[in-house]
């Protein structure tokens, strides 16, 4: 399956920066502005969170952006409408992250069809178990050309990682530690985990996320794997208020500063 994600990982010449923002945050209609700013200022992938009332895997910062986005009136239907509008001006891959329940209520097939039509490349559904994925949805995602991105954690066994590597596509989302989003991470401990991930020589590229907030973290991770995902730190930056484009430019520049090339990939 060739798509924007596979293309990106084949072509990339610098560490991949996947930037997360909750759709409909800080304003209902700021989704497009955030996406354009991220694309203009050097993000490689945009991951949009579909807000949910009960985001179990998220820490306080993303919980907060979820509840503001819901108050703002964001929903899957509204988001897909917004994406359809903005899609012609996006050339970097856009992926959607969300919990299963709102997607099921919207209808999984309708969701896949409309997301695909709105230019979405991949999905992250952290509470969709592998067994349900294989039984119910794998063929549907394939049919609509959507990558399915699995999470792994430092506790995930090698056998399970290998299975995920055969089932998933786009990239593998390696959670930095067994934690909810936005927790401080211990870089010392990270190195052993990163070295292990690298040594597995997986078919899929790996991006590491959860708790990465600065240039040091980003470049350390990128020296082992293809890149990293940043969410809570960016939401916090947006939360301080001000012009989205200016905040985004400063934020991405700070992360990118002198970021090294991966040694291998």
């Amino acid at each position: 399956m060739q798509n924007k994600l596979t293309h990106l990982f084949e072509q990339h010449h610098r560490p991949i920066l996947n930037m997360y923002c909750t759709a409909g945050y800080p304003e209902l209609n700021s989704t497009g502005e955030v996406m354009k700013a991220l694309q203009a200022h050097g993000a490689d992938i945009i991951e949009l969170g579909m807000p949910y009332s009960d985001p179990l895997a998220d820490g306080p910062v993303i919980q907060f952006s979820n509840s503001i986005a819901l108050q703002n009136g964001m929903s899957i239907a509204v988001l897909l409408e917004q994406l359809l509008q903005i899609n012609p001006s996006m050339h970097i891959p856009v992926i959607l992250m969300g919990y299963l329940n709102p997607i099921l209520q919207f209808g999984m097939e309708k969701f896949c069809r409309e997301a695909s039509a709105a230019g979405v490349t991949g999905l992250i559904i952290p509470d969709l178990p592998m067994h349900e994925f294989e039984n119910e949805y794998q063929d549907m995602f394939l049919q609509y050309g959507l990558c399915f991105i699995f999470l792994i954690s430092p506790e995930t066994s090698e056998a399970r990682i290998r299975k995920i590597d055969t089932l998933g596509s786009g990239f593998i989302y390696a959670v930095s530690s067994s934690a909810t989003t936005g927790q401080a991470i211990d870089m010392q401990q990270q190195e052993a985990y990163l070295a292990r991930l690298k040594s597995l020589q997986l078919r899929n590229p790996i991006l590491v996320g959860f708790g990465i907030k600065d240039h040091a973290g980003f470049s350390k991770i990128s020296s082992y794997v293809q890149g990293a995902i940043i969410g809570s730190a960016y939401i916090l930056a947006l939360r301080s208020g001000g012009d989205i484009s200016t905040i985004t430019k400063e934020f991405v520049n700070t992360i990118r500063e002198k970021a090294e090339l991966p040694k291998t990939n």
Partner: protein, 393 residues
């Protein structure tokens, strides 16, 4: 019909384990070991001994004479209110804490609504010398203040939860997040038949002692181990699951679940999940759930903190869908009236949750030959503040 879980944790269309990868190792370990541990004779010996000497089991099956006369039938109360700590919740916490020790866990967390499960968890942790953290919604901390004090006295840390509706659903979210952050050393003692597989089945098995005792007590009293009706309130559904368990395959026994209708089913302030809910996923399992058309979980309402939850366990969703159990409801006012009535006519002050089950007596037709067992899941001490506000002065 089959009322046991299959290997993926499904009762019919409901159940499963919808959890993020960070919890997979813990949940998988539980799935793979809970039956073996529970069936181990050494475990059973320790569990049964504690149920007897510490909890005070078997709890009496009390023939409620006044109520029986009033309804011209035979009404028995299963006195879970006489369990140590005042509710059925401790049947499950004893079982799970013993299981946690066998899994090598050194820290216990729990969520609580009414505080009964929190107290029952804090109690067994004090007994076993394990640190205990209980998550509780701020609204519930205010309306169940005496239970907050009890948990603290028992040495537990009570963490106030201020997100969402500040009640049981949000306390459960925070407990799950804690578990994600401390997966290696922590066991999460879920307080009802909810959560990812194997929790619904595991908790139902620990609570099944209720119906096992009902059977043998009825046999002794009446010469027949089967009642015609078993009635229980349903928040998540653990006391109901325990009271129904050994009757699930006895079709002649009518199973009646009573949900909390709050201010009325159509008032917008209710917690009657089967009446208002649709299929969805909450706290790791697929079940019936109160939600918006967009799949956002709605905030329930009940005067009783233990029933103030927007979902029900997957077993109950299956009992509802298959028609094996009948689902009724009681409003806040009806539960209050039922509590006042039992207090005056039987000398038993019930928990507000259990009062919902008592209200079912007014909703059905009874025959003189019927044998009706009501699960009196807990006692009313924790609800005195609420009762006082409603007492005629």
């Amino acid at each position: 019909m089959n009322f046991s879980v299959n290997e993926y944790g499904y009762y019919g269309n409901f159940g499963g384990a919808f959890i993020p990868e960070m919890l997979y190792p813990n949940v998988k370990q539980l799935q793979d070991s809970y039956i073996d541990i529970m069936e181990d004779p050494a475990f059973q010996l320790e569990f049964q001994q504690l149920l007897k000497d510490y909890v005070g089991r078997p709890t009496p099956l009390f023939f409620a004479e006044h109520l029986s006369k009033q309804w011209n039938t035979n009404i028995y109360l299963k006195r879970e209110d006489l369990c140590h700590t005042g509710a059925h919740k401790i049947n499950n916490t004893i079982g799970q804490v013993l299981l946690a020790k066998r899994l090598g866990k050194t820290r216990i967390i729990a969520e609580t609504g009414a505080g009964q499960h929190g107290v029952a968890t804090a109690t067994v942790c004090a007994l076993m010398g394990l640190p205990c953290v209980v998550y509780m919604g701020e609204k519930d901390m205010a309306r169940q203040a005496s239970n907050v004090a009890r948990m603290k006295m028992l040495g537990a840390t009570v963490v106030p939860v201020s997100s969402g509706s500040k009640t049981l659903k949000d306390a459960t979210n925070e407990a799950i997040r804690d578990w994600i952050n401390h997966a290696a050393d922590t066991h999460y003692i879920i307080g009802s038949v909810v959560g990812p597989h194997p929790y619904p089945d595991m908790v139902a098995r620990f609570q099944s002692v209720i119906s096992a005792e009902i059977k043998s007590q009825l046999l002794e009293r009446t010469g027949n181990e089967l009642p015609t009706h078993v009635i229980a309130c349903v928040g998540g559904g653990s006391n109901a699951a325990g009271a129904f368990y050994h009757f699930l395959n006895d079709d002649q026994v009518q199973l009646i679940a009573v949900e909390a209708a709050g201010c009325g089913i159509d008032s917008g302030k209710s917690a009657a999940t089967t009446q208002l809910g649709t299929m969805g996923i909450l706290h790791g399992s697929k079940s019936l759930l109160m939600q918006t058309a967009d799949g956002q979980v709605t905030e329930p309402h009940s005067i009783s903190a233990g029933l103030d939850y927007p979902g029900i366990g997957p077993l109950h969703a299956h009992l509802f869908e298959s028609g094996r159990a009948r689902f009724l409801w009681a409003t806040d006012d009806e539960a209050m009236a039922a509590a006042m009535h039992l207090s005056k006519t039987a000398g038993i002050i019930p928990a507000l949750e259990s009062a919902h089950a008592l209200h079912a007596l007014t909703q059905l037709e009874w025959k003189p030959s019927d044998v009706v067992v009501i699960c009196l899941s807990g006692r009313g001490d924790k609800d005195l503040d609420t009762y006082m506000k409603n007492l005629p002065s």
